[in-house]
Chain length 342, copies 2
């Protein structure tokens, strides 16, 4: 199946670049309410599924035992920018578990966001594992292991009990079979499993509604999503798409990006969740798609709809501030509403 | 016409992202020797055509009048990383013309390359127009205007005599009609004109061979390409694709990148030039395509071929240095050799 062009980037009046993609919106029962492209093809969710991976932290009682705050739970679901507050919060989580950054197995990297990188360059000799965008998730992993009395060494490996538990949680949510066949290694060294975009969206719709979940899992899902929506800065950071989406309609939008053009979002009050993947892995296209989709679930004249549409369809300016083109969702994408899955 | 998938990015054993693209190799007479995708569709060449835009600087006698060095001519054709030597060389060009950075109309930006940005952040309060990746080209423009006794103010605008001259030069080289219809504004504020990828490649094949050019233009073309090949650091910078390509086979490869997934190269000894465009604008795919194409024009067992292939097909490592996947040219792209234009 051919994925359609969903996002165009213009220069002057001419389309300069085109992105193809897939997108799907489902309800808690798994019913598709919008679909574009091949949403049955396996896709690596990458960091978009971090809230799923954080469920053992809450379900096991570790979050309560260590008294984790909303900010710390949000950080456990985050791909943060490595700002001071992110780093301090991650260090605090480790301290609560009696560990320090030596326990982290995610590796270190400078922030990928210009303003933050400039600040880091002026204040740090080098970044540590706490600055890794995944450090909050890894701190959550370590808290989970410590609380369970398990050795956390090697917690990033496929065969570690924690990864087996996460695999089982994700299989339960997505109803996809996860195993070594469609398994890759993520940027932070943990396993990532390719699964259909539709299954990924359905898993988040279950988390947003509690449908088909045990009481424990439904409560833990609600708690994590509410933490993210309450503390959106700790899910991403300054000027980041996830943070902006959740600030536009507080408590009504959950949003999480992943590498290589993946983005998921949920609308808990509406009982829906959505997932998009840009075929070529471009973040700009994934953001355009998810903001476009989110906008259509708010009243057409509402401020939320207008702000989401403005984030989806953006004017690009050059180094002199002169508008040179736009990034916009295509007609084919906008018309996709309710399109059958064929 | 549907552009084929030319580059794949894998994670584990699975393809995570796909890039579509176009590519063409032509000789000085305009004969196509390799073609993939819709190479007749108009494409903005962006910075890939800087060597064409620098021709008036040489043809007018300005380069000789100001005693411009090989480095300065290379910088006039560059998209540099904003390293100290680039900035100093740009400032030197302006000084030779009796101007300073106040004359530059390109705007300012931090380096887009992490290592350089970190150094800039530690040594600068803010970047100036000299740090703009296009500053060398703009210094060349100002030298051209000053030498001709023209007012350089507004030299970035479509109606300025310099841009009219550049338009005429590019029309002569590419045999494409350039005008306001397919005109956009580039990142540095000058006009950029969409033209067929095949025409772009043909223009560079003419520059590399001198075919169908006046003696003056043929000499100026040779001088600029030789300056770039002699001083590849001044065409891009540390760890950059253009620089590495030209260092692999000194004097045998000219290479120049452009934004939104464009890349051109020439093989002067072989009388060929090539141009690629990634449909979605990704630099990683453009680099894979141009390195793959360049490799096939060297002996299969040669060091140059091996090094070019290694740059085309790259292993990606995560933050712990663990290999997680590859970026590679597809079979469809590799087989494209001599494919008809259908």
């Amino acid at each position: 199946m051919q994925n359609p062009v969903t996002v165009e980037v213009t220069r002057g009046d001419y389309v300069e670049s085109r992105h193809r993609g897939m997108a799907v919106v489902v309800d808690g029962a798994g019913k598709t309410v919008f679909s574009v492209g091949d949403v049955a093809a396996p896709v690596f969710p990458r960091s978009a599924c971090k809230a799923m991976q954080a469920l053992p932290l809450v379900e096991s009682g570790a979050a309560d035992a260590f008294g984790l705050t909303q900010r710390e739970l949000a950080l456990a679901c985050s791909s943060h920018s490595g700002e001071e507050d992110h780093v301090a919060t991650a260090a605090g989580m480790l301290a609560k578990a009696g560990r320090d950054l030596g326990a982290l197995e995610c590796g270190a990297h400078w922030s990928g966001h210009e303003k933050i990188l400039i600040r880091q360059a002026r204040t740090l000799d080098a970044p540590t594992a706490l600055h890794n965008n995944c450090s909050g998730k890894h701190c959550g992993f370590i808290c989970t292991c410590v609380h369970a009395g398990k050795n956390h060494a090697g917690y990033v490996h496929y065969d570690h009990p924690l990864q087996a538990e996460i695999r089982a949680v994700m299989e339960g949510l997505t109803e996809a079979k996860l195993g070594p066949d469609l398994c890759g290694t993520d940027g932070c060294s943990i396993p990532t499993y390719a699964l259909p975009l539709q299954a990924l969206a359905h898993g988040f719709a279950k988390m947003a509604t509690g449908m088909s979940l045990s009481t424990t899992r439904a409560k833990a899902s609600k708690r994590l999503m509410e933490a993210c929506m309450a503390e959106p800065f700790f899910v991403a950071g300054t000027d980041r798409a996830c943070t902006k989406a959740m600030q536009i309609a507080p408590g009504k939008i959950f949003a999480k990006t992943g590498a290589e053009g993946v983005f998921v979002a949920a609308l808990p009050e509406q009982g829906l969740a959505m997932a998009v993947k840009c075929e070529d892995g471009a973040t700009r296209a994934a953001e355009c798609m998810i903001f476009s989709l989110l906008a259509r679930f708010f009243e057409p004249e509402s401020e939320a709809s207008a702000r989401l549409s403005a984030l989806a369809n953006r004017t690009m300016k050059n180094w002199n501030g002169v508008p040179v083109g736009v990034t916009r969702a295509t007609e084919a994408f906008v018309r996709g509403a309710g399109a059958p899955l064929n």
